[in-house]
Symmetry: none
DNA sequence: GATGAATGAGGTTTCATTCAT
DNA sequence: AATGAATGAAACCTCATTCAT
C-alpha cells in the first residue's frame, strides 16, 4: 500500500539537500496511477467491485472523481489494471526467489514456499486472491489472465519441486498435481480468508499464519517423504 | 436444490388426507419462498450480491418483481435467508452422518470427510462458500452466523476426530487445530473454486474432485499417522 | 401536441355516461409513449438534442425520469422514434390528400401544396424539419430515414405534378428537379424558420405564412406556365 | 476560410516594413484568435454548440485547452464571436459588390445574387446559416444580431432591386417582401442543406448548386417580369 | 504567454422498492 | 395473492473552466 517506488530516483541528491522532489505537479502525475490502483484494490477487495463507488476510490487516493478518469477509462479498466499489475509484480518476485535458492527439494520447499507466501499474505497482494475469486465470473478476461500468469506458472514451479524430490528419491512417487493442490490450496485460502471472514470482528482463526504455514508444509512433506522423520 | 422437489412430482395424496385441492396452484404458493431462495442463491453466487438484480431473481423464480416482496422484505433479507437456510440444512446433514458412523479415527475420516464434502461440492450448497467469502465484509451479521453455525461446529467435529486418533495412538501428537485447517481448507477452496475460476471456460483444474479429495485426505492421514503405510 | 387519439375508442359510450376511460393505470400506459414523444419533440426542437435534459422531457410529459426508460431505451432512441413517427404520419397524410384530389396540374398544385404545407407548418411536425437539419450530422441514420421517407417520395410527388403540367402543355419544358427545389425549399425553410429565428422576440418575418405560400406558388406557376395570366 | 491565409504564404515583407521578426512564431500568435474561430465554426456547424467540446476546438486550432481561454472567455463567447465576425465580413462584401454593379434590375439580380450566393455557399460562411438556425433559440442575442446585420440589410438590398424593377416597368407590381422571400429562401436553404443533410453520405440533392441558383433566379424573374421571354 | 492536470457540477441511466389495480 | 408501472436516489462518467507550473 502506498509503496510507490517514486520512479527513477532522479539523480543522486546533492549532499546536504534533503532530496527535494522535483516539482509537486509533476511528482503527483507520476504517482497518481499507482495511488489510484492502491485505493481501488483496497476498496474492491473490501466491498467488491460492484459495491465500490468510483468517488470513494478517488477520495481514498486523494483526488477528485474526475481525476480518476484522466488515468483510467472506466471502473472496469481499473479492475483489470489492479489485478494484472499486482499479480505480475508478485509472480516476478516468486520466480526471482526460486532462481536464487538451491538445495534439496525438501529444504527448498520449506524455505521458498514459506517465505513467498508469508510475504504475499502480508502484502496487499493477498487481496487480489479474494478479488479474483469474487469477480472472475463477471469479467471473463480475468480468468484468462489468472490462468496464464498465475495458475499455470505457479503449478509449474511447485510441481517442478515436487517432481525433483521424487526423482531424487526424497519423495514417494505421488501424483504431482494432486500434491500441488494439497500444498497450495490452504495457502490461497489463507489469503482469501484474510480479506473475508478473517477481516471481521468474530473470533476467527486463532492461529498464527506463519506457524500454520510451517506446520502445513511440514505435514505435507511428511506425507510425501520416503523417510519421514520420526 | 436440496429441498424443492419441483412441482412436477404430484404423487397421489395418502388416503386420509382430504383429496388434494387444485394442487398445482396451492403447491406453487407453498413453494414460492423456496423457489425464490433457489433463484437468489444461484444469481448471488454467480454475479455477487450487488450485481444481482431483484428482477432477475423474480424472473428466474417464475414470479413478478412485486411478488418477491410478499415473501422477503428486501434483497438483503433474501441474502440472509439464503445463507442461513442452506447452511443449517447442510450442517445438520453432517452431524447426522457423523453420528451414524463409527470405526477408527482413520477410517472415520476417510469415509465421513470424503462423503460429506463430495455431497456438498455437488449440491448448490457449495455456492454458499463462495457467496460468504465474497460478501461477509459487507454484511457483518453473516460472519457471526457463519462462525456459530459452520466454523465452530465444523472445527469441533473434525478436531474431535483428530484428537481421538491421537488419544488412540493412531496419530502423532500434532497440533490439532493446525491439522484441521490443513484438512479443511483445500476442501473449502474446492467449493469456492467451483463457483469462481472453475466456472470459467479456461482450462482450469484438470483433476477429478473426488480423486483429489481422497488423495488429499490420504496425504494428510499419512502426514499425521504414527505408522504410515509403506 | 397532446393529440393522442386515445387508442381504439372503446365501445360506443352508453348514452348518458360521459365515456369513462377504462382504468387510469391502463389508460396511462397506453398514452405514455405518445406523451413522451410529444414532450421530446418539443424540447429537442426548442433546445436541440444535446442541450435537452431527459429529466425535462419526463417532467414535461408528466412522469418521472425513470419512467421514460420504461418506454425508450435511451435519449437517442427517443430522437429516432420522434422523427420516424412524426414523419411517417405526415407523409401518409400527404399521399392520401394527393390521391383524393384531381384537376389540372396548375389547380392541383395550387390546392394540394398550399393545404398540405399549411397543415404541416401549423402542426408540430414542422419542428421535425428544424430538428433534422440540426441533428442529422450527429446521427447519420436519420439521413437515410429522411431520404427514403421524405425527400424521395416528396420529390416524386411534386415532380410528378410538374411533369404532368409539362406533358399537358400547361407548363414550359423546364428542368423538373430544379423547379421542384424552387417550389419546395421556401416551404421547408418556412418550417425551419418557425422554430428558429421565427420563434424569437425579434421583429421577424412580417408576412402571413398562408399569404406567402399562396404568393410563392403563384409566382412559381407563373414562372413555368406557358400562358401566364396577364 | 475567408480570412487567415494560412501561415505558409510568407511573402517577403514590402521594403520599408522592418525585417519581419522570427515570423512563424510571432505570426502564429497574431493568428491564434482567428484560427480558434475557424476551428470553432467548423465544429459548431458540424456537431452543434452543445455537442462540441472545447478541447476539440483547441486541438483543431493546434493549441491547448487552456490557451483558448486566453483569447475567449467562454465557449459561448466563442459562439458569439464566430457568428458576428463571419457575418459582418460577408455582408460587407455583399454591399461592396452591390455598390460596384449597375444595369437593369433584371441584369443586376442575375449577376449579383448568383455571384454573392455562390461565394457564400462555397466559403465556410455558409455554415453560419446552419449554426444560427440551430442555435438561436438557446442564445437570443444572436437573433438580434442576425436581424440587424443580416435579415434587415439583406431584405433592403434585394427588396430595393425588386422595387427598382417595378418602378422601371421591368417587373409587375408584385408584393415586394413576398418576392424577396421567394428569391432568398431557397438560397439560404441551400447553405443550410450543405451543412446538414447535404453533408451526409446519402444520395442527396443531385443538382449542381450553381445551375440551380441560376435556374431559380431565372424562374423568379420570369414570374415577376412584365415581358417574359417566350 | 502556454500548458495540461485537476476539479466538481451536472447529465444519463439503473434499479430496489412501492402501490394501485 | 399477484402484478408491473412508477418512482427517485444514487451511480458512472463527461467536460467547461481554473490555475500552478
Amino acid at each position: 500500500m502506498s509503496a510507490e517506488p517514486s520512479e527513477r530516483s532522479d539523480l543522486p541528491a546533492m549532499a546536504g539537500t534533503p532530496a527535494t522532489p522535483p516539482a509537486s505537479h509533476q511528482r503527483r502525475k507520476a504517482e497518481r496511477p499507482s495511488e489510484l490502483l492502491d485505493a481501488a484494490l483496497q476498496l474492491f477487495v473490501e466491498k467488491g467491485f460492484a459495491a465500490t463507488k468510483t468517488e470513494d476510490i478517488a477520495r481514498l487516493a486523494g483526488v477528485s472523481k474526475g481525476t480518476l478518469y484522466l488515468y483510467y477509462t472506466s471502473k472496469e479498466d481499473l479492475l483489470r489494471e489492479v489485478i494484472s499489475q499486482r499479480v505480475s509484480t508478485r509472480i516476478a518476485e516468486g520466480l526471482a526467489q526460486a532462481a536464487a535458492h538451491q538445495g534439496s527439494a525438501t529444504e527448498l520447499m520449506r524455505t521458498l514456499l514459506v517465505d513467498w507466501w508469508m510475504q504475499t499474505l502480508e502484502s496487499d497482494a493477498s487481496g487480489v486472491f479474494k478479488l479474483v475469486v469474487s469477480e472472475v465470473r463477471n469479467f471473463p478476461e480475468i480468468a484468462e489472465l489468472w490462468f496464464n500468469e498465475v495458475s499455470q506458472p505457479g503449478s509449474q514451479l511447485i510441481g517442478g519441486m515436487v517432481q525433483r524430490g521424487i526423482d531424487s528419491g526424497e519423495f514417494r512417487p505421488v501424483d504431482v498435481l494432486s500434491v500441488v493442490y494439497s500444498i497450495v490450496m490452504p495457502l490461497v485460502m489463507l489469503c482469501v480468508h484474510r480479506h473475508s471472514l478473517g477481516a471481521c470482528e468474530c473470533p476467527g482463526m486463532s492461529l498464527e499464519p506463519q506457524a500454520f504455514i510451517r506446520a502445513h508444509i511440514d505435514l505435507v512433506l511428511r506425507g510425501i517423504s520416503t523417510h519421514p522423520e520420526p
